[in-house]
């Protein structure tokens, strides 16, 4: 599936958060990086109509998403929120089952239940299936939310800092998983803070600053010491280790 975003603008109570974003996204692994408050979350939310942009369009395979119902969008785009919130107790299985909402009117079939347990197995969560969601660690909760988006069987996945709560092993595991999804034809778009992880896994990187796109392209072209200085105001050196690019801060 292709996404085209043109001249997207968004305001929170009159304060602009996105100032004219245009991107073409194909089947790929796209990482969105940028400092806190640069508009990554807002951009993701505009892409699945959680937020309505003030100006500009988001096109899905040539159709304006404003012409699609929320349910039609839900079948095509899965969204994994950043903050794992909610004091409401529910079993992990029930949380993932909500991902089947776009397909189920009221009664689930055996197939829906099997889909849920299948994605739990893919993410190694099957032993937690009957645990209360809020008794899981932050990282496990994050994986459950990814599982829900997978249960949604969407061709496009939007993720908001999916690795933020995870230890190194699980960070790599989640990124590997996302990478393997792109090989199956899923478009993965993820906001992420870790420039090293982004460079390692993403096909392309969008670097945002103050609600605008500062740079876009392959990791090699985007993650440079000049760009990082301009966007984050930090001096870094970019090294190359085993053909991966690694960013190391330089002490002031």
């Amino acid at each position: 599936m292709r996404i085209r975003i043109r001249e997207l603008e968004f305001e929170y109570d009159g304060i602009p958060a996105l100032k004219g974003i245009s991107i073409d996204i194909n089947e790929e692994f796209l990482a969105i990086v940028g400092p806190n408050g640069s508009g990554k979350t807002t951009l993701l939310k505009c892409m699945c109509k959680i937020l309505k942009p003030k100006r500009g369009v988001v096109m899905l395979n040539g159709r304006d998403i404003n012409d699609l119902s929320q349910m039609e969008i839900a079948k095509r785009i899965g969204y994994v929120p950043q903050n794992v919130s909610g004091t409401f107790p529910a079993k992990v299985f029930e949380v993932v089952l909500t991902g089947r909402r776009p397909y189920i009117g009221w009664k689930f079939s055996r197939k829906d239940l099997e889909k849920v347990s299948e994605v739990l197995r893919v993410l190694g969560l099957e032993e937690f299936a009957m645990r209360d969601f809020d008794t899981l660690s932050g990282g496990q909760q994050q994986k459950v939310l990814i599982a829900r988006a997978l249960a949604q069987e969407a061709k496009i996945l939007l993720l908001d800092e999916p690795t933020a709560n995870l230890d190194l092993k699980h960070q790599l595991e989640v990124m590997e998983l996302l990478k393997s999804l792109t090989r199956k034809g899923v478009t993965v778009i993820t906001a992420i803070h870790d420039l090293n992880l982004a460079s390692m896994f993403a096909d392309r990187i969008v670097m945002m600053k103050d609600g605008k796109i500062f740079a876009i392209g392959t990791p090699k072209n985007v993650v440079t010491s000049d760009n990082v200085r301009a966007v984050y105001g930090v001096e870094v050196r970019v090294l190359e280790v085993d053909s991966y690019r690694v960013i190391v801060p330089v002490k002031g």
Binding site: K49, S69, Q70, Y79, P89, F93, E94, W106, L113, E118
Partner: protein, 341 residues
């Protein structure tokens, strides 16, 4: 290593357990009704009651059973079920365990409607007046939600404002009323099943049946907004604002149609869903039927106590629900597992 089908089976077993709980509550309800019909201030032997139920004799005892006890028992079940059903849904869509239809101002508006009827129109007008006025806060809250967004906070705060406004007006009316009328208004506000009659059963039951089905149809969406939150619910295809308005309207209508017959019976709508949630968890596809049946059981039990504890004096059932509900609620708060739910 668990296989896919193992996880599915585990979930299905878990769901089956919930169905069994619901059936148990239903059984208890039937049992309680069977016992309640044999109890009362006019003592009729156990087996006599059942022969009356079968034969419909036109004796004094026959009339007591058929025109006093049976409609009162049915009304207790219908009212308790309806209040618990509306309470469970309101707690869910407002994501607040203390929210009930009463929080939305319905009880105090109904109280004002009853007071106006008792003071100025005559007691024949109590039911229509209570019903009509109790819908006012519903429309005010809907209007505010339209302007400011249908968030739980907006709706709860608007409801509490309604509650104060309507209570204040009622108090003002009572201040200038004569003592007899004040007593009647007060009795109404506490909530009572003494006026239950066959005539009241049909409309209240119809309202319960229709509203229950409409609400049950939305339980899956309520699960989604409770588990996922408003924003993510949108990405799953649910419109949280529209859902909230729909559920609020139906729950309020259901509550209004009940309290206009019985007065504002407290605590059932708050406590019954809580107890059920502790037993079978928060999945509304099971919680709603469980709460509904349990509410009926709870109010029937309270009313049976109200009829027998100080016999031949029959207490208003609202006194019993409040007396039992308060301590029960404190107990629940003390042994709750989590911050809220």
């Amino acid at each position: 290593m668990l296989r896919v089908s193992d996880v599915v089976e585990e979930y299905e077993k878990y769901s089956l357990g919930k169905v069994l709980v619901i059936l148990t509550i239903l059984l208890l309800l039937i049992l309680a009704a069977g016992i309640a019909v044999t109890l009362g201030s006019y003592s009729i032997p156990f087996f006599k009651v059942y022969s009356i139920l079968i034969e419909h004799p036109n004796s004094v005892e026959g009339r007591i059973v058929w025109f006093l006890r049976v409609p009162r028992i049915l009304m207790a079940i219908i009212a308790g079920s309806a209040l618990a059903c509306a309470g469970a849904m309101t707690q869910g869509i407002l994501r607040n365990p203390l929210a009930t239809p009463y929080t939305l101002g319905i009880s105090s508006a109904a109280g004002l409607g009853a007071a106006i009827a008792i003071l100025y129109l005559g007691s024949y007008a109590v039911i229509p007046s209570a019903f009509a006025i109790s819908l006012i806060p519903v429309f005010v809250i809907l209007a505010i939600a339209k302007m400011r967004g249908a968030t739980p906070e907006t709706m709860i705060l608007a409801g509490i404002a309604m509650l104060y406004i309507f209570s204040a007006v009622t108090t003002l009316l009572m201040f200038f009323a004569n003592p007899e009328d004040v007593k009647e208004i007060y009795f109404w506000i506490v909530g009572d099943l003494g006026k239950a009659s066959w005539k009241a059963i049909l409309p209240t039951f119809a309202s319960l049946a229709v509203c229950f089905l409409l609400l049950f149809w939305k339980t899956w969406d309520v699960n989604v907004i409770m588990i996922a939150g408003d924003e993510t619910a949108k990405s799953l295809g649910v419109n949280p604002e529209r859902l909230r308005i729909f559920v609020m309207f139906i729950s309020s209508f259901l509550t209004a149609s009940i309290v206009s017959f019985t007065g504002t019976i407290g605590f059932v709508c708050l406590v019954a869903p809580h107890i059920c949630r502790m037993i079978i968890g928060g999945d509304y596809r099971y919680l709603l039927p469980a709460s509904t049946l349990f509410g009926g059981l709870l109010l029937l039990t309270c009313d049976t106590i109200a009829r027998t504890v100080m016999a031949p004096i029959v207490l208003p059932v609202g006194v019993i629900t409040n007396c039992l509900g308060g301590p029960m609620f404190l107990y629940l708060l003390l042994r709750r597992r989590r911050e809220y739910w």
